[in-house]
Amino acid sequence: MASEPRSVTPGRLEPMLPVLLPVVKRRRETGDTVTLALDPGPEGFGFAPGQFNMLTVLGLGEVPISISGDPGDRSRLVHTIRAVGPVTRALCRLTPGATVGVRGPYGTPWPVAGQTGRDILIIAGGLGLAPLRPALCQVLARRREFGAVEVIYGARRPEDLLYREELSRWRGRFDVRVHVTVDAAGADWRGPVGVVTTLIPHARFDPPYTSAFICGPGVMMRFTVGDLLARGVPEERIFVSLERNMQCGLGLCGHCQLGPLFVCKDGPVFSYARVKEWLTLREI
């Protein structure tokens, strides 16, 4: 009978055990949103676009945060975090040198690899661009495999846009078109104003041969999916990333259920065909 606390090599002994990683870089994105880069150590951190980690501020709590970095770069673990609760507020205050507990990666990825030869629509609302950024990185890294690549991104105001440097870099490329809209703007904004769906008619894609990756607030995703279906994009080629209360990431704690699905392990990325019957029910 061992009653000494056991020192641990973080790993598979206890799936609820985080590894501790240092913050190496912090960038303020918007008034309430920060991007943190963590150093995963010499082995690096591999993940697929769309997956998430459980991030711990020790003593305060743990939250699910999607991974926002380039899946081709294992040397940095990047998360974009909006301060909405006590843990995310604490995460947003961390500076280089601070320690973050990390468990993951968890969840299903955007199936970029399965879309060869198709047009790609990436549609994001607000913070929804964070989990889509790795998908775009992967699409651009394998650009020749796809037809048209169109990014549609809507934020509330111009100052709420994420990754502004990268947006303009993507806009400078000839092989991807980026459409950005905001809900409201001052007189200095020269871009479109209106909800994300108003930009869909401006994107060039061939609906039956298009795959769409969508992430944003629930209402935005609902109306975007509706418009794409009406245009003839097949429902099994429309992918959405869902959000639920997630406390373990392992499919054990029971909080993230959507009908028979555990969003943490069966999702968060689902084809619309798989979840449509549950998305149309309310309070489910």
């Binding site: 105001r157 409201a184 629930g218 209402v219 109306f223 509706g226 149309t280 309070e283």
Partner: protein, 152 residues
Amino acid sequence: MTRLEPLLAEHPFCRDLAPGQISRLAACARERQFAADEVLAREGEEIREFFLIRSGRVALEIFTARRGPLLIQTREAGDFLGWLGLEPHALWVVDARALEVTRVLILPLPCLNQLLEEDPILGYQLLKRFTQGLARHFASMKRQVVNLLHGL
């Protein structure tokens, strides 16, 4: 004259229409009363009816997973609810729920659309009233957007 004709004639949407036009509309119309919280239309369902509200109040809502139904606008006695001139099989983009006992006249779209196609003079009259109503609703929504998004 059917019993619905005077009800139609007294609704603002039909004001000053000729008795013959009223009776053509009445041939399509039926009356219905909704109890409080009863649903007139639900997001995602096909739009099959055009409502003229005689009394009561209807909430237009968008359902959100986290906050439940969000009330965006109400329609009152004298207002219409629905669409004229849309493509067939268009879908409701909001829920419409009675906030109190609400009495409406219902014009089923197949019947109403056929009437508009066959009688362009009546059709033009109704579309004009519809557009004027839309203009009022849009003007109101634009000011709501300013209030909400710009905090004015």
